[in-house]
């Protein structure tokens, strides 16, 4: 058995073991598939850059070896006829597609509680959520069962669970990674992201999956991301601290962890300035108009005709079939968002909601651009307002759930790259802080994140 095959067997054992603990991060896994991939990589002549890296894939990203369900009844047995560009590139780089991971249905959620497979538990505190919607991918990495995992962000769905679970969560610039094969939720927001235990591994994975793709018209016409060795310190960097990300009601533990991180940033040689992103309060309202609007269009294809669930009433013809299929196939959060999206795009409400939301989006993006033009290299702030909340705490109150994305969704609206790194612990639970960079400046982002990561003790209880 080669080294790669041995690593694959260990990964398979870890994935099986994580399942046995009730983590519920994995929705599809076949040991023989993993071992076959390892054999293929091991028998190859070249030494590819991600050789043997076991990578989980969120189950809204199309794969050939496993179904792609989006954790939805409407796609419960769906087998994609093609695989996502990101998955193809992972395989070409020698990575092993370890399994498919759990998510909130169609990536709509912030807790991985809205899944037909049941919720993913927090790997250290099972009564709490892992975050979402990429909770399965993140929990798998946090539990040590995979080396990395692909997730997706529309409104913070890699960074938020990464902060909750104490791992690195990277969201590339919109257009950095092809969306071909990422099942669409909000097409102007969706982006494949990466969860890993270190910035270095997250960077290597994004490098491997990035770059132009003729199959995705929104993918930037750029070569794959190239990353250099990180600097020794942060001298020459100017880091902005947005005051709007430190409201009075910010969790005390999160505030303390971020304050300590800011001290470390200064100690590393960076200049630190308080700055303002004045339109931040508009981000969640704008997001919860734009994303549902786009979702209402993207999910119109699930009609029971060509693929997926079909519920055919005895009477009423094809339209009754559409309504019954969709009414049965979609869960409560997806249904809410389709209704909201259809409402805000409907005659009489378009100007009141959608037109204002996209105007707000421009203002939010403009806030970031102004700071970067004014000499700020990167922004730093908390990833989430709190640590991981208890399961069931927010499912009865949709707006309360949405507010957990207050600090992450502005960057999705602006298309910017951002990374959450673990800062430490508050009352035993992980706290994440995020760096935000200008468009397509992942190199600067990850360089600073690497330095910050070296300066922190993520396991230390500091509040």
């Amino acid at each position: 058995m080669t080294g790669i095959e041995a690593r694959a067997r260990e990964a398979a054992d870890r994935i099986a073991a994580s399942d046995a603990t009730g983590l519920n991060a994995v929705v599809a896994f076949d040991r023989s598939v993993l071992m076959r991939q390892a054999s293929d990589v091991a028998s190859g002549a070249a030494s590819p850059p991600l050789a043997g890296l076991a990578v989980g894939v969120k189950d809204n990203i199309c794969t050939l070896d496993y179904p792609t369900t989006c954790a939805s009844r409407i796609l419960q047995d769906y087998r994609s006829p093609y695989e996502a560009t990101a998955v193809t590139r992972l395989r070409q780089a020698g990575a092993l597609i370890a399994c498919k991971t759990n998510l909130d249905e169609f990536a709509m959620g912030s807790s991985t509680e809205y899944s037909i497979f049941g919720r993913t538990r927090h790997p250290e505190a099972p009564e709490r959520v892992a975050g979402g919607s990429s909770g399965g991918s993140v929990a798998l990495v946090a539990a040590g069962a995979a080396d990395a995992a692909l997730g997706s962000e529309t409104g913070g769905s890699v960074r938020q669970p990464a902060a909750f679970c104490g791992v690195v969560g990277l969201k590339p610039t919109y257009g950095r990674v092809s969306r071909y094969g990422l099942i669409a939720f909000g097409s102007s927001l969706d982006q494949i992201g990466v969860a890993a235990r270190t910035v270095e591994v997250a960077g290597r994975v994004v490098s491997a999956i990035s770059g132009r793709d003729p199959n995705d018209a929104t993918c930037a016409d750029l070569p794959p991301l190239m990353l250099s060795d990180p600097p020794a310190d942060l001298r020459g960097f100017t880091i902005g601290i947005p005051r709007e990300y430190f409201p009075d009601d910010l969790d005390r533990g999160v505030r303390t962890a971020c304050a300590r991180a800011v001290d470390r940033i200064r100690d590393a040689g960076a200049a630190v300035r308080e700055v303002s992103l004045p339109h931040t309060p508009l981000a969640i309202p704008a997001y919860y108009v734009i994303a549902p609007a786009e979702a209402s269009s993207n999910l119109a294809r699930y009609d029971g005709v060509r693929y997926g669930l079909r519920v055919a009433p005895e009477r009423g013809g094809v339209h009754a079939m559409y309504r019954a299929t969709r009414g049965t196939g979609f869960g409560p959060e997806v249904r809410r968002r389709i209704i909201i999206g259809t409402y805000v795009l409907s005659a009489g409400y378009y100007q009141a909601f959608y037109a204002k939301a996209i105007a707000a989006r421009s203002l939010i993006a403009g806030d970031f651009q102004q700071l970067f033009r004014d000499g700020i290299d990167l922004l730093f702030g908390p990833t989430t307002p709190t640590t991981a909340f208890k399961a069931g705490a927010k499912t009865a109150d949709p707006v309360a759930m949405y507010l957990s994305d207050a600090f992450v969704c502005p960057t999705n609206l602006a298309g910017l790259p951002a990374v959450s790194v673990p800062l430490g612990r508050a009352a035993g639970l992980p706290v994440g802080g995020q760096l935000i960079a200008p468009l397509f400046d992942e190199a600067k982002l990850l360089a600073a994140a690497s330095v910050l990561e070296r300066c922190l003790e993520p396991q230390q209880d500091i509040a």
Binding site: R335, Y343, A352
Partner: protein, 102 residues
């Protein structure tokens, strides 16, 4: 403030081709009203009439859009290769019973 009625949500559900049972409809109406009240914070934003402002896409290093060249991809053979069942340019699906009733 946006007032949302059950009848309005029923109409929207029809537009969205979504069956919602009557028990769920009451709760859904309450939740949608709550969400719309929340997003009404956008009321004070000056709308551009639905036009996307250039500042959204402005960036110093953003690459130019790709060219719009038509490369002459022969689409049907690709679809035929991907589809579970495909014949004469049509996807074959399980028969839709009761189609004639519409």
């Amino acid at each position: 403030m946006t007032r949302v009625t059950r009848e309005e949500i029923e109409r929207i559900a029809q537009l969205a081709r979504l069956d919602v049972d009557s028990r769920t409809m009451a709760e859904l109406t309450t939740q949608i009203a709550q969400i719309l009240r929340y997003v009404s914070q956008l009321d004070g934003v000056e709308s551009t009439g639905g036009e996307i402002s250039p500042s959204w896409i402005e960036a110093p290093t953003i690459p130019p859009p790709r060219g719009g060249d038509i490369t002459g991809i022969d689409l049907p053979p690709q679809l035929a290769a991907m589809a579970p069942a495909f014949r004469d340019g049509f996807f074959l699906v399980p028969r839709l019973e009761g189609l004639d009733e519409e």
